[in-house]
Structures are given as C-alpha cells and as structure tokens.
Symmetry: C3
Subunit: 138 residues, 3 copies
C-alpha cells in the first residue's frame, strides 16, 4: 500500500470565502503515484469546510445567503460566543457544508463526474488554517 499526506494552508482576506482546491488535490494524487485508491480531503479546523459542488459564482453566493439564513452571524445568538468567541455561526455553517470529502482515485486520477470540483469553505477566516490531503492505495 502506498500513501501520501499533504497539508494546504489558507489565510483568507475576508471572514467567509470559497477557494477552488481541485488542482492542488489532483497534484497530490499525481505525486503519490497511486493509481487505484481513495483520497480524503478535510478541513483541520472546526469553522471551515471542504465540499464538492459547482464552480459557479452565483451558486457560491446562493450558498452564503442560504447559510446566513440558517445560522446568522450574530454575536448574541449563540452560547458559544459567551466564551469570548464570535464564531458560533461558523461552527453551524461548516456542519451544513461538511468537514470532508472522499474521492475515488481510478487510473491515477480523481474519479469525478462532469461538474465536480473541490472547495475549501472558510466561515471564520483572516487567520491561518489548514486542509489535510491523504491518499492511500496502490
């Protein structure tokens, strides 16, 4: 069994941001030399997400608007914010979007449908955060 572990680092300029990381994940798979296996990509922080969806700016704004409706950014709304934090909403938003994705590796490539792209979803940015890529297989 082969394996590869890589870490990506982000420090977004705004509190919320979606970043397309598909090419970085593809690069890691290539580097691993793995032809058949599984590729895990996960946020290492609990107010961020890794998810798969469409690379379309209007849809990304729809996601942000929808999440704001489901879990508004409001300092007074969350008990978590009584600890001195202001990111209670970010923990909930990341839960809706998911922590991780798992992608099949087939013939040395991410085995994707026609529109699948991997995104880092930041909900409490402007600080350094990491994403883990782990590929196993042969």
């Amino acid at each position: 069994m082969k394996h590869l572990t890589e870490y990506l680092a982000f420090n977004t300029k705004t509190r919320q941001e979606f970043i397309n990381i598909t090419s970085q994940v593809e690069e890691a798979v290539k580097k691993s030399g793995i032809k058949e296996g599984l590729c895990l990509v996960n946020a290492m922080h609990i107010t961020a997400s890794v998810f798969i969806n469409d690379n379309e700016a209007g849809l990304h704004q729809d996601f942000l608007d929808w999440l704001e409706g489901l879990a508004p950014h409001d300092r007074k709304k969350y008990k978590h914010n009584m600890t001195g934090e202001d990111n209670g909403d970010a923990h909930l938003k990341r839960t809706v979007m998911g922590r991780e994705v798992l992608v099949a590796v087939t013939k040395g490539r991410l085995d994707f449908g026609p529109w699948e792209q991997i995104f880092y979803g930041e909900f409490d940015g402007q600080r350094r955060k990491r994403v883990l890529i782990k590929v196993i297989g042969e």
Copy 2:
C-alpha cells in the same frame, strides 16, 4: 490491496426521487472479493446525493417536505438560476443530504446496523446521472 470500481446509472421519471441501491452496492462488494476494507458510494453529479437512512416511505416524504422548506424550488430565488438553470435548490438540498457515504466491509459484507440502507437521492432528475462505487481492501 484489492480494488473494484463500478458505476450505476439513473434516469428518474420525476424531478425528485429516492432509490434504494443497497443490493447493488452489496453485489459490488461481493464481486470485489474483498473481505476487510472500505466501500465508498458517491453521487457523481452535484444535484444528487447518496445517503444512508431508513427504508420507510413516510420518512422519505418527510425528507422531501423538510428540504422543500429549507431550500424551496423557486426559479427566481437563486442567483445560480440566472445562468439559465432552474436547479439552484437542488444544489442546496443535496448538500444537506450529503454527496457520499463510506461503509466498512467486514467479513465480506457491508458492516451495517439493523436499519441502515443506502439511497440515491435525486433532486434534479429526468436526465442520465451516475453513482460511483469504489471498494478497497483485501
């Protein structure tokens, strides 16, 4: 390490539909000859889901009603629909239900609790779409 890759294809008659694919996934595991490992099942399209829950018709209707409340099918509501699409809601619904499931394979079988069943969840159907099954192990 052994591995097996299979693709299922769906073309639902209605826009939204849940299809029980448990037996097809079990068949793939059997075919792989893998006794101990992991089985990934994921939607390859970004307006569809693969999820695990109960095989009960009332609950499935509850899911559809609940998702319609969270992300209504409304052509004018989503910026994504300004691209000519009418499926903005389907991207959000699939996000709630999830893209993928990962199931342990133990002694050659899907290692399931008493009520776990795997479903394909379609939110923008009436066109050909695929699901990927990847089994790795030994």
Copy 3:
C-alpha cells in the same frame, strides 16, 4: 494491509446527548498498529450521528437549539411517526450532523487540527446503540 474493527455501545440517559469518543477512537488506532491509513467512525443507527467539532458545552447547546429549530421534536409533524414512531425529527437532525467521519492516520496518530474532537450525537436515546470504528492501512 492491516485492518481493525471495533464497536462501541451507548445507552444514554436522555433522549439527546453528545458524548466525546476521541480517546476511544485513538485507543483503537493504537491497538491496530497502523501507522499510515484511514479511520472511519460511523453511527450504526439512523437516528444518531458521529461528527467532529469543538469540545465546548455552550456550542453543544447551540447545536441542540439550532437543530430543534430546523427539525422540531413534534409527534404530529412527521409522516414517519404514523408508523408508531415518535422520532421523525431524530432522522432529520442526524442528517444535518452527519452519519460518519473519516480521519487520516499519520505516524500512528489521528491526524487532527488543534480543536478537532470526535463526538457521538444521540437524537433518540435511552436504548442500546452502536458505533463502528474501522481502521485500514499499514
């Protein structure tokens, strides 16, 4: 390839409860002898969740309050409850929180960010339920 399968059992005193299972998962990884691989942890029941987030009591109450808003515990609200069940809400709540997590194993340890902890999330407790841990790798 090495592999290990473990089952945890829970019987919560209250209907809803979050239990930190990080140390039990770490123990399983250690026992497996696996240095590089993947560790799946999933609820085996469809009204329970395994998720990763912060070990902070206020945030856990925020999750419960938020989920109650998204999918209230109401016997009359769900078609599923016409089967004699009263847990329609628990199926929806678990869907938001997720069935499973997949964690990379690197150098024999769960490869976690600074605040990541694994929780069992019970939404219809006071009965025996199980969690599965599957570690594969080398």
